[in-house]
Amino acid sequence: MLKKVIELLLLLGIWIALVWSIQVADVIAGFLVSLVVVLIFSDIFPAEVFKMFNPVRIFWFLLYIPVFLWAVIKSNLDVTYRVFHPEIPIRPGIVKVKTSLKSDIAKTFLANSITLTPGTLTVDFIDDNLYVHWINIVSEDPEVETKIIVKKFEKYLKKIFD
């Protein structure tokens, strides 16, 4: 029940931000729409999100944002370089790496982060194994691959979500 109330308030907040008005009619309309959405889709909302209401986790999340944005910028410069280079310097392939993260939401964030960072794209996720398409393979040793691709995000995501 508490979970549904929090979800309702969250959706209502997003509605008000999008409509950008706090007139009574707008708020009532938003409340009704949020109520319908919560009643239908409440089950697929991941309950693990509520662990986030914790100062330590929020602190690590704020630290994670610049690390992530820096990785996104580096990955764009890397891809742009490969795109405009006359010989297209790529050594592509799909590698298999392991992660020690447990919760689903942490794994989702890890997969999304890997996709947006230099030269890697998550193809599939089965149990603890990530299959990652890598545009420039530097090593054929799974240990080294795991270290390069996964470790830099794992230490943050472990503190945020696990």
Binding site: N76, I88, P92, I94, Y131, I135
Partner: protein, 112 residues
């Protein structure tokens, strides 16, 4: 329109352009997804950031910020779905690829 807004717009359009060139130049679907996902995500976010700075703090900026967050969340998910679907449908990697651990674990059926 200030210099900062113009710079952000230009860099954003440049990254989107690089993504499109990559879509044509790279050899197979997986490499093309790399170019399109990364460059188009950052390029579009920079354009949305230019909108936020240009219009200040009002309803247009809020919508731009929501768009940026949803692009960050959905672009990788779409790339994952397309690459996984293509691999399962039997599209092989480019001949110059080094290895394919996914094919070793889940053998591909040749396409008819």
């Amino acid at each position: 329109m200030s210099d900062l807004v113009m710079t952000l717009l230009s860099v954003g359009v440049f990254f989107n352009f690089a993504g499109c060139i990559g879509l044509i130049r790279f050899p197979d679907i997986y490499n093309r997804l790399q170019a399109s996902t990364k460059c188009v995500t950052l390029g579009t976010i920079l354009i949305l950031l230019a909108i936020v700075i240009h219009f200040g703090w009002n309803s247009i900026s809020i919508k731009a910020i929501f768009c940026a967050v949803f692009i960050l969340l959905t672009a990788p998910a779409a790339a994952h779905a397309i690459s996984r679907g293509s691999h399962r449908a039997g599209f092989p990697l480019w001949e110059g690829s080094i290895m394919d651990r996914y094919r070793d674990d889940f053998p591909q059926k040749p396409r008819e």
